[in-house]
Structures are given as C-alpha cells and as structure tokens.
C-alpha cells in the first residue's frame, strides 16, 4: 500500500509535466491512475471480506514511533474504494469541466495529491501516519479551493478552510499524542488492545476533547461548519470530491476508527450527539435559505455530516450500520448532484436556482442523473438512500429528540431533492434559461455513473454490497461477529411509516418554500452573529490587535529596546540575589578601605567627577576629551594593579579612538542637546539600578573568588616551556593564541567594514 501512496504522489508530481507534454490528453493518465488504484484495492477485497486485515509495515521514523504502517480492514477498504472510484470519475469530469484551462496540470497535481493523501489517511494504522495524511488533505484542499486564485472570495475561502481545519489539525495532533501516551501505543490496533488503560488514563478527557475538535473542524460540525459553504468557491469537481464525498468524511472516518477505543464514557457520546444533532438541523435549515445550487448542496452536506456524527454518538450497532450505509449513499447522491450542478454552471453560466428552469430539455442525461440522485437523497425505494434512511430511523427510534432531528433533516433533504431533481430540470418556469448547446459527455457521464451506482447498490444491497459493509461495521464496533443484515424491504414497520411521512412533509415543504423564503429574510441579521461572522471578526481583531500590540512593543526606539533588556536583566538578577541572599562581609570591606592610597582615591575621584561632568557638558569635543581622561585614568588603574600590557594597550587605544573621532566627527552638526523630559527619571532609575547591581555583583564575586590553578600553571611553565617572561604575552600568543587569532580577525573585519561603510555608496554604483 505504500507503493499505492508513492504512485499517487508520483502521479501528482508529474501532472504538470504531463499537462505540458500531452496537453488535454493529460486526463488519460490521470484518470487511469485512480482506476489502477481502485483495481489494487479491489484485489485486497477477498482477504478483507474474510475478516482479515491486510497489514503492511514500513519503518519511517521509528525513533518517534511514526511508521508507515498500513492496515486495510473493512472500514478502510470501503473508504479506499470510494475514494479511488470517485477519484477516477472526478478526474474524468474535471477534464471536461476545466477544458483548456492552462492550469489544468496544477489542478491534477493538487487533486491527485489529495486523493493520495486521503487514501493514506484511511489506510494508515499508525496514528501519526494518519495525521500526516490528514494535514496533507487540508493543504491540498486549500490549494484546490483557491484554484481560482484571481478571485478574492476563493482566496479568502481557501484561507478560512485551511485555518479552521489547521486549528483542528493541531488539536488533533495534541490529542493523538495524548492518546499515544495514554495507550502507550502508536497504532489504532494497539490502542484498541489497550482500551481499558486508555479509558482510565487521566489523559482520556483532554485527548477526547482534542480529537473531537480535530474531527469536528474537518467534518464541518457546528460551530466549525462555516468554512464548508465558503469552500464552494472551488471548482465543482473539487466540491463534489472533497467537500461532500471524501475529505469532510475524514473526520467521520477517524471518529469511527476511534469509536471502539474511546466510546463508552458519556462524554464521548454526549458531545458527538450534541454537535451532530445541532449540525444536522442547522445545515438542513440553512440549506433551504439559499438559492445557489452549490450552497444548498453544501448545507445539506453539513447536515448529512451532522447526522453521521449523531449516529456515531449513539454508538449502538444499529447506529453504526446506519452511519456506514448512509455515508455511502450520501457520497453517491451528493457527488452526483454536485457534478450535475457543475454541469449546469458550465452550460448556463449560473447556479442561481431562480434562474434555472426546465433544463431537462437540453441536459437530458444530467437531468436523469440528477433525478436518480435526488430520489436516493429523498430516500425513495429502491435507492440506497432509502436503505440508509430506514436505518437512520431505526437507530434513533429510542430517543425522540434524535428521531426529531432525523425527521427534520429528512424532510429538508426531500425538499432539496425536489429542487435538484425536479424543479430545475423538469419544472417549467416563466422564463427560459440560456443553455450552451454543446452537451459534454465528460460532464454528464460521471454523474450518471454515480447515480446509477446509488440505484444499483440499493437494489443489490442485500447481496453484493453487504459483505464489505459488514466488515466495515465490524471494524467500527470492534465486534468481529456482528452480522449486518440489510434489505430493501422490511415490511410495514414504524420506520417505513416515518419514511413516508418524511416524503410527504418534504413535498409540503417544497411547495411552501417560496412563501417561507420571504419569511426567512427576517433571519438575515442572525448571520451577522454566526460563526462565520465571528471568524471574520476574530480575524480582523487579531490583525488589528497584533498590529497595535507590535507597534506598542516594537516602537522603533532603540532606548525602549535597551530598557526592556535592562529591565529583564536587572529584574532577574535582583530576583536571584533576593532569593539566594548571598551576603557581603562589610566589616572586611571597611578593613580593606584602610589600604587605599591617596593617589588611587584621587584617580577614582577624577573618574567619577569626569563622568558627572560628561553628563552635563554640551560640547562634543569636551565630551571626547573627558572620555580620553576617563580612559587614561582607567589605564592608570591597570598600571597600579600590575597590568602594564593592558595599560599600554588602553593608552594607545584611547589615543586612537580620539583620532578616529577627530577624523570622522568634525562634519557632524552642532551638538543638539536633546533632553529626555520626564522619561529621564525612568532612565536614570534603571541606569542607577543597573550600576548598583553590577557593583554588588563585583563585591560579591571578589569576596568569593577562588585562586585559579591557571595562574599557578602559567607562572610555572611560561618561561621554562613557552620561552617567555611576560606571562600575559605568552598567554596571548601561545597558551591562548586562538583567542588572539579571533581577536585579530575582528580587527580585520572592522577595517573591512569601515572601508565599505565609507566607500561603498549605493547611489554611485550598484543597486541597493
């Protein structure tokens, strides 16, 4: 399976190249690739159907326990087949939809990348492996949503989707890490084995919260659902593939995958049901308020995702069955409808519901496909949608609230199905829609296939589809003996009654829609407080906040920066000194004071008064002279305490500095004395504190200093082994010659820097 992934990545990488080479025929290899993968996954079918998981292990980064460990069981295989099958159809469809687009190569790149990561996601057994692919789907989704990069909406939507799913991704990462710590395992299978430990570990709750956050953002659960409708800015094949059939279901997949490990405690079930229920109803309600075909489909997708999450939350065997069947049905019909919507857009140039009438005449095949899909969506017998709906009702019979949610959603779905399957194609409107005459095979064939798939699976539900679904359910429930029995006809049960009721209510709703539409305008203000608006508010707030914060902090003044640094330094040092309270023996100090010589005192006094004088002087030259005075005085100290080399160096350098000042500063303008005003006191305060601290540190260190063995060693060997009497010089050129090498390098660089500073003038030559 690693090779499947690698093959996918390779195909993605070469897509732009192929496009350049083959032109529009690039579609051929790009369609063949998913078909090939489909075949590959089919080949695993027999083994999986026997209840064995196909496992492949490849080490990747074993040090971090991240390996490319693949595990193909019922659930994975179902998803993998769905993904590659859909992939092939969408690739095919896209070749028509984006015909002549110069960026088609890149489109295929992103799409194939996405498909591959999705395949990796569902087949990964290593939790971090899954995470890797998870994030890749976010990225490829980002690139696909922003495919029409010239349009601002597309960019904004792509960004939104990325940030929301990215947020979730990071939460998921943290959650997965916690899980891996809690279960001491890095694979789903391993986690499953250690379920009891996981459930009892203190990390359980945070892990669940974080994982749910990840899944909810990915699967567009309330309150993170808002990115999905915006993501419809992507080209339609993308919407069909990513944002209805596959990527958004990655969250569902992960929940299903983790359900056997994490389910049990109430927190899991309650949060799933709450979020799912709200999302389902909200999506259903919102779907009916839109007139854009894709928006409607997007909201119903949200709603369906909500239902799926609800089912996972219920967590019973029935619910799991319902979840899986409905997931499949939804993928098929929603994919069809999206593709059809794309076809309509392609041929009429609009997706506005109110401008589309009786397209059936021109788009017979698309119409057929849409109708079939709509029937499935509405849950009409014998479509797979019907089976799914029945199962949903069955699973939620216990709880009236849940039942209500299912019913509301179902009714809305019926209404939407009527719009999609009936109104735009077969309903005759007042005005005719302009339709581009040329029907495109590549645009109607894929939806037809999908639509018939829905019908076929519905018809064959009890034979062909059953074993795989059964394996899937067994995976989710972790119950290898669970039997999945599906049939089209259960007989007259309350559930059937509910189905019929749904259809009737749906029809009624459809009829009432125009009337409701006017009333719905009242709800408009609500949008301004919705999560989408909140996102934008937050976004703006963050941008402005960060801008003003940084402007405040990074105010451009050197002195502020120095202040911050010194505050930090002094604060830290003060704290440490306060904490450790190292004392200074002042008696000893006072005793030492008796040894002070007058000349030392005079020089010291000179330095300090020179400093004071320096603070007050206005003349630049006087300052330089005073600096020279201070420098010479300090050199005198070096002499007085036995450092003739240092003193000589200090004298010479002081002299040279004066020369440099003289050579350079004579052209500077008059010394404008800039007072600090009130800030001055702050500066004085920090300076004094700093100086005092340094004094304290010096006194402390002096008191505690220990005799160094280096001194003794150098004293011993300097003449005998290093042939020099001046130990300082011997240290400089021999014992620690490397220091000196570095030091002269500094000098050389300083000279170079000065040279280029003074000579290199960008105005005279060269660009800046």
């Amino acid at each position: 399976m690693l090779y499947a992934i690698l093959f996918g990545l390779l195909m993605a990488a070469v897509a732009p190249l192929l496009h350049r080479l083959l032109g529009r025929w690039v579609a051929v290899p790009m369609v063949l690739a998913p078909l090939l993968l489909l075949g590959l996954y089919f080949s695993f079918m027999p083994e999986v159907l026997q209840g064995h998981a196909v496992v492949q292990r490849h080490t990747w980064v074993p040090e971090l326990d991240i390996n490319l460990q693949f595990r193909l069981d019922g659930l994975s295989l179902l998803f993998a087949l769905l993904i590659s099958f859909f992939g092939a159809l969408v690739m095919f469809y896209a070749s028509g939809y984006l015909e002549g687009d110069p960026l088609l190569g890149r489109f295929y790149l992103f799409l194939t990348l996405f498909m591959t990561s999705m395949l990796g996601l569902v087949t990964s057994d290593n939790i971090f492996g899954l995470f890797v692919f998870w994030e890749l789907t976010s990225i490829s989704s980002y690139l696909l949503i922003g495919y029409k990069q010239a349009e601002k909406e597309a960019r904004v939507a792509a960004w939104q989707a990325l940030l929301v799913t990215g947020l979730g991704g990071l939460a998921l990462m943290a959650g997965l890490i916690l899980l891996s710590v809690a279960g001491d395992s890095y694979t789903f299978s391993g986690l499953l084995e250690r379920r009891p430990e996981v459930l009892e570990h203190p990390f359980y709750l945070p892990a669940v919260v974080l994982v749910l956050l990840g899944c909810f953002t990915k699967s567009a659960q309330f309150p993170f659902h808002f990115w999905l409708p915006n993501a419809m800015a992507a080209p339609t094949p993308v919407s069909a593939y990513l944002h209805s059939a596959t990527m958004v279901k990655a969250g569902i997949y992960l929940l299903a995958r983790l359900s056997p490990v994490l389910s049990g405690p109430d927190v899991w079930h309650v949060s799933l049901m709450t979020a799912g229920g709200i999302t389902a109803v909200l999506g259903a309600v919102l779907a009916l308020q839109h007139t854009d075909l894709k928006a409607i489909l997007a909201y119903t997708t949200i709603s369906a995702l909500g239902l799926l999450v609800t089912m996972l939350g219920i967590g019973t065997d029935e619910a799991m069955k319902a979840m899986l069947v409905f997931l499949l049905a939804h993928a098929l019909y929603k994919g069809t409808l999206f593709l059809v919507a794309g076809g309509i857009d392609h041929r009429t140039g609009t997706r506005d519901l109110n401008r589309l009438f009786s397209l059936g005449k021109h788009m017979r095949y698309s119409g057929t496909a849409a109708t079939l899909a709509a029937l499935s969506m509405a849950g009409v017998i014998p479509f797979l949608g019907f089976v799914g709906k029945e199962l949903l009702y069955e699973a939620s019979l216990e709880n009236y609230l849940l039942l209500g949610i299912c019913l509301v959603t179902g009714v809305a779905f019926v209404a939407v199905a009527l719009i999609m399957g009936y109104r735009i194609f077969w309903h005759k409107g007042e005005e005719k829609t302009q339709v581009h005459p040329h029907a495109h095979f590549r645009l109607y064939f894929p939806p037809l296939v999908l639509a018939f798939g829905g019908l076929l699976l519905g018809l064959l539900v009890n034979s062909q589809a059953l074993p795989l679904l059964q394996q899937g359910v067994r995976t989710i429930t972790a119950d290898p003996s669970l039997e999945l029995k599906l049939s089209l006809w259960h007989g007259f049960t309350p559930v059937l009654g509910l189905s019929i009721l749904t259809l009737l209510l749906g029809l009624a709703l459809y009829l009432a829609l125009p009337w409701l539409g006017q009333r719905a305008a009242v709800l408009q203000p609500l949008y301004r407080v919705g999560p989408d608006a909140a996102y934008h508010k937050l976004f703006e707030l963050f941008l402005h906040g960060s801008k003003s914060f940084i402007l405040w902090l990074q105010d451009g003044h050197l002195r502020s920066y120095v202040m911050y640094i010194m505050f930090f330094f002094c604060g830290l040092l003060l704290f440490i000194l306060w904490r450790d309270t190292p004392g200074i023996d002042f008696n000893d100090r006072i005793y030492q004071l008796q040894e002070v010589r007058l000349y030392e005192l005079v020089v010291l006094f000179l330095v300090i008064s020179a400093l004071v004088y320096l603070l007050g002087t206005r003349s630049r030259l006087t300052s330089i002279v005073v600096m020279g005075l201070i420098g010479y005085s300090s050199a005198l100290f070096y002499i007085l305490f036995g450092a003739p080399d240092v003193a000589a160096t200090q004298f010479l350098i002081e002299t040279l500095t004066v020369v440099i000042f003289v050579l350079l500063l004579h052209k500077l303008p008059a010394f404008i004395y800039l007072s600090h005003q009130f800030m001055k006191y702050k500066f004085i305060a920090i300076s004094v504190v700093f100086g005092a601290l340094m004094t304290y540190v010096m006194l402390l260190v002096q008191q505690q200093a220990i005799p160094s063995q280096l001194k003794e060693y150098y004293g011993k060997v300097s003449y005998l082994e290093a042939h020099g009497r001046n130990i300082v010089n011997v240290i400089l050129v021999d014992f620690r010659g490397l220091d000196t090498l570095g030091e002269i390098t500094v000098l050389a660089v300083a000279a170079l820097g000065i040279f280029s500073l003074l000579r290199l003038n960008p105005e005279k030559g060269g660009k800046p």
Partner: protein, 149 residues
C-alpha cells in the same frame, strides 16, 4: 674613612632630591595652570614646567635604579617628552590663535597685529569681550549651541 660613606644612602638622597624637585616643578606648573590669566600664559608656563619636572623625576629614578637599561629608558622618555611637548604646545597655541582665543588684556600685541589682520583674526582681541560673546551665542542658540571653542 672609605667605609663611613654609605653609597647607597648617598644615591638615595640624590635621587630623592631630584624626585622632589621634579614633583615640585610639576606642582607649580599645575598651580600655574590654574592661576594664570589667559590661555597662552597658562600654556607657556606648564609645558616646560611639566617637562622639566618629569625630567627631574626620571633622572631621580635612573639614579635610584642605577641600571643601564633603566637609564636608557629614562633618557628615551626625556628625549621623547622634550621633542613632543613643545610641538604639542606649538600646535595648540597656533590653533588657539586661529580660533581667536583672546589674549590677556595686558598682552603687548604690537608686532603680532599685522599677522592677525592678514589672517582676518583681528576681532575678539579682548578676553572679556570674547567671553561675553560666547555667552551671548550660547544664550541665543540655547541647547543647540554646539562646540563653541
């Protein structure tokens, strides 16, 4: 008789004498620096005072150490200072003239006037006037008064 003379003591006494003399000259030069009325007189007084003082101190040291190496160094220092001190004095003095640093009012500038006129330096001859003008300039420019010489 020969034993009664402590040559070391003699050496030390001579050395002390030189050192003290030198230091006194230095001190006097410093006092002169403080006391004299104008820049030129001050400079005149101190440049040589310090050179002589330093020379004497150094000689005292050479006598005390009584080593050729030290003597050589001492001679070198004396040589160096006596070359550099007057040069420095000259350069500073010339600069002062060029910058219209005023002379003491009792200074006789009879023979110098031609030079000053030629170099357009005849203004600010008076010390008090100079200080007055400097103060005025600083008052006018406030903080912006730059390097007034």
């Amino acid at each position: 008789m020969e034993q009664s003379i402590d040559w070391v003591l003699v050496k030390e006494v001579i050395s002390c004498f030189f050192i003290l003399a030198g230091v006194v000259f230095m001190l006097i030069a410093s006092i002169g620096l403080l006391r004299f009325p104008d820049f030129y007189i001050r400079m005149s007084a101190i440049t040589k005072g310090s050179t002589l003082g330093l020379g004497l101190i150094l000689l005292g040291m050479a006598i005390y150490f009584n080593q050729p190496g030290v003597l050589l160094k001492v001679l070198a220092i004396i040589g160096f200072t006596s070359i550099t001190a007057p040069v420095a004095a000259h350069v500073i003095g010339r600069t002062a003239v060029q910058n219209r640093i005023p002379f003491w009012e009792k200074t006789d500038l009879e023979e110098f006037r031609a030079y000053l006129v030629k170099a357009h330096l005849e203004q600010h001859i008076s010390h008090d006037k100079y200080l007055e003008e400097k103060a005025k300039k600083e008052k006018e420019m406030g903080d912006a008064a730059g390097d007034t010489v």
